[in-house]
């Protein structure tokens, strides 16, 4: 394979060479434990403090409000389970979330349901949005937490978190947002959003994998998820992943710099692909609102086809993408996100997500379109459910 066109940046991103440069001295240096009381321990502690300041600057919060975790999923689990368990002691055992959250949120909520918590799963609109009025209507006196994602990981739609957080504030209910897809892709300021907690993940913005962070507004105190030593102000135990944290700090600083230019670049690629595919390939549809979506996200259904075949055809031509089809997972159900916006199973099976990153070029977008224009008709010709328009 001489050419790889990586269009799955919502799954993960390549580590920026400048991030690698920032991490290298940590990996090759003396490597003291940040909790140790001698010079190389202090040095490691300072490296973490620098990264914490970088994250705080990017999010518009205090460094003391940033807690490093082992990734976005841990941050989500901590925010949700930690808040639920704490507030259950005050008799609050009701949680609100949406029907199309990331599995880290869905499964954390379901785990709490097994423990006797009640969860309201808010429906979403056909164009991919949670309605703030639905949040308001679902809040009860025993509601502990509202958790709605900032941007959907499959269809890219950007949720009205500012409004949802304001409703939570009026009702004295805590508000968490999973911003894993949003940080580095759109401006994210926790004070402007008004949320109490926000999850992010390093590898989604050209940082390393296995490291994330949870913003916790000062004064908000979810129970710990991981008990042990006194790291992270006694709130997240375990010797710190110093190199990962340093990498995350460097990556977030790079990601939020020149954000407007990067967004414009991604929007150009995204809109080129959406426009050309919808114009040149019949019976295709864009999932999620065309405008209010992540700059790099194009999610398109191809009638009469199953996504895995498209995935394999693209892979044979060096293109990496992902599908909402069941055949790409261990379950046989298609994506819960696509079902939540009302797609029938058949359409959900034939859905592809193309997610662009700063490294992608217009040439990549053109190549994707020409490959799709070649393979879609070929596969449709062997599909018993494809009925070409007369």
């Amino acid at each position: 394979m001489d050419r790889i066109v990586y269009l799955d940046n919502a799954a993960t991103t390549p580590v920026d060479p400048q991030v690698v440069q920032a991490m290298l001295p940590v990996l090759t240096g003396p490597g003291g434990n940040p909790s140790s009381h001698y010079s190389i321990g202090y040095e490691a502690k300072e490296q973490i403090d620098t990264a914490r300041a970088q994250v705080a600057a990017a999010l518009g919060c205090l460094p003391g409000e940033v807690y490093f975790t082992g990734g976005g999923s841990e941050a989500d689990n901590w925010a949700i389970k930690g808040t639920a368990r704490k507030l259950a002691r005050q008799g609050k055992k009701h949680l609100i979330t949406s029907a199309f959250e990331h599995h880290a949120v869905v499964h954390a909520m379901q785990a709490l349901e097994k423990d006797g918590f009640e969860v309201t799963w808010l429906p979403v609109t056909a164009d991919g949005f949670v309605r703030p009025e639905d949040v308001a209507a679902a809040i009860r006196p025993d509601t502990a937490l509202v958790s709605v994602m900032l941007a959907n990981n499959e269809i890219g739609t950007i949720q009205p978190i500012q409004e949802i957080a304001a409703i939570c504030r009026e009702n004295k209910v805590l508000c968490h947002t999973d911003a894993v897809q949003a940080v580095g892709a759109i401006p994210v300021n926790v004070k402007e959003l008004g949320v109490d907690m926000l999850s992010l993940s390093g590898h989604k913005f050209n940082g390393p994998k296995g490291v994330g962070a949870l913003y916790i507004r000062r004064g908000v105190l979810p129970d710990n998820l991981i008990d042990g030593g006194g790291q992270e102000s006694r709130r997240r135990a375990g010797t710190e992943n110093v190199a990962g944290i340093v990498g995350l700090g460097a990556a977030i600083e790079l990601a939020v710099g020149h954000l407007e230019e990067k967004q414009a670049h991604l929007v150009a690629l995204r809109d080129y692909v959406i426009g050309r595919v919808l114009a040149n390939i019949p019976e295709t549809r864009l999932n999620g609102d065309a405008k209010n979506r992540l700059p790099g996200n194009a999610n398109i259904s191809f009638a009469g086809l199953e996504g895995e075949t498209i995935l394999l055809d693209l892979d044979m031509r060096g293109i990496c993408a992902s599908t909402g089809s069941a055949c790409n997972s261990d379950s046989l159900d298609p994506s819960h996100v696509l079902l939540a916006i009302g797609l029938p199973h058949e359409a959900a099976h034939g859905t592809m997500r193309f997610s662009f990153g700063p490294q992608n070029t217009m040439e990549d977008a053109e190549y994707l379109c020409s490959v799709l224009e070649e393979v879609i008709p070929l596969r449709r010709a062997m599909s018993p459910v494809w009925k070409p328009l007369a």
Binding site: E306, T309, L312, C327, N328, D330, P334, E346, M382, P384
Partner: protein, 148 residues
């Protein structure tokens, strides 16, 4: 190394015997679009022998590869030989399938049997004593995981 063997990828990239057959005398369709797999098999049977076979498949890579391999395994064979086709034989001929994709080979076996049943029905013969009962639908999908 991908999830599929080279043989599966070969049959996926270059499926054998694809297409429709207007003069088929046995046509069977199994699966459903909700589950993401539909296979339609066309047979032309003369003097108890399958002289031609074609397929149309909506489904994943394994669904296309198993359909393609099943047609190869029965083309030119007698009805009796085709009735003896098992999903295991299809899997082996493809050098294996990932466990979650084994149901595709079951569908391929069922598609052949559905087409043979249709052939018998057209001859005025009750197929059930010969072909057996078919699971033309992937009922297990209702439960969320396909256990066919």
């Amino acid at each position: 190394m991908g999830m599929y063997s080279e043989k599966v990828m070969d049959h996926f990239a270059h499926p054998r015997n694809v297409g429709e057959m207007p003069d088929a005398n046995g046509v069977g369709e199994v699966g459903n679009a909700k589950c993401g797999d539909i296979m339609r098999m066309y047979l032309k049977i003369e003097d108890g022998r399958i002289v031609d076979v074609k397929f149309m498949t909506f489904g994943c890579g394994a669904a296309i590869a198993t359909s393609s391999m099943a047609t190869e395994l029965i083309k030119g064979r007698t009805i009796e030989e085709a009735l003896g086709l098992t999903n295991k034989a299809v899997v082996e001929a493809l050098d294996g399938l990932p466990p979650v994709k084994v149901h595709c080979s079951v569908l391929a076996e069922q598609a052949v049997k559905a087409a043979l049943s249709d052939y018998y029905r057209r001859q005025g013969v009750d197929p059930e004593p010969i072909v057996g009962k078919l699971t033309e639908d992937c009922h297990a999908c209702e439960g969320g995981s396909c256990g066919v």
